[in-house]
């Protein structure tokens, strides 16, 4: 009951945000250029170096509240740059991105209240502390303390299926458990928008399938969380995403449902469609 109450509270916050008819994510002509990486003495010029290398070349799209959207593309297509920009970790060069109505560059604090961010290779925990101590600390960083934090931690760990592991030191947890702990951290404050970068990268096939069910059925369908995730696993994309943003060399090559993308390209499979859109016959790193 307490767990449900904790999530009901989080969900009501999400619902309140989602009641507004505005999309959860708005990206308009987003461009990101990086300076070349210098070394040696020239590295001292890095902070003021001219940004010449294009990572995003004017992306525009919207994600509706409660929608699951996947980003696919080859390595270097701009998936992680896009997610990191939305997560307020880097500034866009031109254009703008709104998350829950907040500009990620100029209203970063507001945007961070709306988002949870997790990467598949995320092992960023204090290894000597227990899972609970880690979550308690990160809860405090998200303005959750005392009983509220305690209840929220109980709720998300129950939900992630790790209540029995949470009092072990993180260094003793398996990769899969650490991964779930990372997702629990991203969900602690009941974010309206969840940004995931290759969320099943370090999971075995069964754990990955479990994780997909969790994302689709619990997070998106039941809780109404907006999901934007990058993935190389096309079966995962087809299973979870309502729409797919296909990136190719920093540009948007398509933005539609998996079925429509396949039909519009005249391809027999989704994998073939993505290969055609990204102008390469090379298969994605993994096709699940």
């Amino acid at each position: 009951m307490r767990i449900e109450a904790g999530f009901a509270q989080a969900s009501s916050v999400i619902t309140a945000r989602m009641c507004a008819s505005s999309p959860a994510i708005v990206v308009e002509n987003l461009q990101k250029y990086f300076p070349p990486a210098y070394s040696g003495w020239r590295a001292f010029a890095q902070p003021v170096a001219k940004a010449t290398e294009c990572a995003l070349a004017g992306i525009s799209f919207q994600v509706e509240a409660g929608e699951a959207v996947a980003i696919v593309g080859h390595n270097g297509a701009g998936k992680t740059t896009l997610l990191r920009t939305l997560a307020t970790l880097i500034f866009p060069t031109r254009g703008r991105a709104l998350l829950g109505g907040f500009d990620v560059a100029h209203e970063a604090a507001g945007a961070r209240r709306q988002l949870g961010y997790h990467t598949g290779g995320d092992e960023g925990f204090y290894a000597r502390l227990t899972g609970r101590q880690n979550l308690t600390f990160f809860a405090a960083m998200n303005n959750l303390t005392g009983r509220e934090a305690h209840e929220r931690i109980a709720a998300v760990t129950e939900w992630m299926g790790i209540p029995g592991e949470i009092d072990r030191q993180v260094r003793t947890l398996s990769t899969g458990m650490t991964h779930r702990l990372g997702l629990a951290r991203a969900l602690l404050h009941g974010p309206a928008v969840l940004l995931l970068d290759e969320p099943t990268r370090s999971l075995d096939p069964l754990a990955a399938a479990d994780f997909r069910r969790l994302l689709k059925d619990e997070l998106v369908r039941r809780r109404g969380t907006t999901l934007l995730f990058a993935s190389h696993t096309l079966s995962e994309v087809e299973a979870v995403a309502d729409r797919v943003l296909v990136l190719d060399h920093g540009k948007s090559a398509a933005y539609d449902s998996p079925t429509r993308i396949r039909v519009s390209t005249g391809a027999r499979t989704f994998e073939e469609a993505i290969a055609r859109l990204t102008r390469s016959s090379a298969a994605m790193e993994s096709i699940g």
Binding site: P47, A49, A109, L115, Y117, D122, G124, Y126, M141, N143
Partner: protein, 273 residues
């Protein structure tokens, strides 16, 4: 963010670091013993170097052992201030928690301040251990100390050093490692700040340089308060100088830090190792 919220977060950082330190209890015991060796070294060194001529240059009523012990113990505040902030960034980068921290609802300046809370509290305890060993075994008795004055000098010193620490962290987030500014400040401060010998023994140009850095005033004030039992009239000069350093360095350091943070978000190198 409210000041209560900021304080709560700083406490959360302190509890985090305390919990991690508790996992290394053996190291804490060894550090305490190590401090005894350090104090003993100063004691026997002082017996070797003490002379009537040297005593003339020391604060009234003190000896070289007390002079060096206070200098060594309180110089650490500069070292910790200079390293606490950039170490916190470096550690967070290394253990890959920086990104997770940066997407929380806590600004980086609070992350920095919070990360410095435990090192300063631990340093205060270490100072007590140093002085305690000195008192227990080597006759260090600050019987005339102006403790309140010493605490105020310490607080003003920490404020003055914070600015240098945040400047050092700015370098760290821009250039990642090999912070030369830190070593320059520590090197100059160690040479001319009066840690191991009175500033009066230095040649005139170095004496001038000594008066341009905060650690000189910090050590001068601390020794006057602890060893000479100086009153407020004798301490005001050190206090005022330290507060002036703080008034200039803290806003300047936050300006530089803000610029550095913005540049790393533009270049995308904030979390790079």
């Amino acid at each position: 963010m409210s000041s209560t919220g900021t304080l709560r977060k700083i406490i959360a950082f302190f509890l985090r670091d305390f919990a991690i330190a508790r996992g290394y209890r053996g190291a804490l015991v060894l550090e305490t013993i190590d401090a005894l060796f350090g104090v003993a070294t100063f004691f026997y060194l002082s017996r070797f170097v003490e002379s009537p001529e040297l005593e003339r240059l020391l604060p009234a009523g003190s000896n070289y052992f007390a002079f060096a012990l206070v200098g060594f113990a309180f110089f650490d505040y500069l070292s910790v201030a200079l390293s606490a902030f950039d170490s916190s960034i470096e550690e967070a980068r290394q253990n890959r928690t920086l990104e997770a921290l940066l997407v929380t609802q806590t600004p980086l300046r609070v992350i920095l301040l919070g990360s410095a809370a435990y090192p300063f509290v631990a340093l205060a305890l270490r100072t007590c251990v140093y002085l305690g060993w000195g008192a227990l075994f080597f006759g260090f008795v600050p019987s005339h100390a102006n403790w309140l004055g010493a605490l105020l000098i310490l607080a003003a010193s920490i404020l003055a050093f914070l600015g240098l620490g945040i400047l050092s962290a700015s370098y760290q987030i821009l250039f990642k490692r090999g912070n030369p500014a830190k070593w320059v400040v520590l090197g100059i401060s160690g040479l001319v700040g009066g840690m191991m010998y009175p500033v009066a023994v230095l040649p005139a140009p170095l004496r001038l340089l000594a008066h341009l850095i905060p650690v000189t005033y910090a050590l001068e004030g601390m020794r006057a308060a602890l060893l000479g039992g100086a009153g407020w009239i004798e301490l005001w000069r050190s206090l005022l100088a330290l507060l002036m350093f703080a008034a200039v360095l803290i806003p300047l350091s936050f300006l530089v830090f803000g610029w550095a943070l913005r540049r790393t978000k533009i270049t995308g190198t904030l979390t790079h190792i």
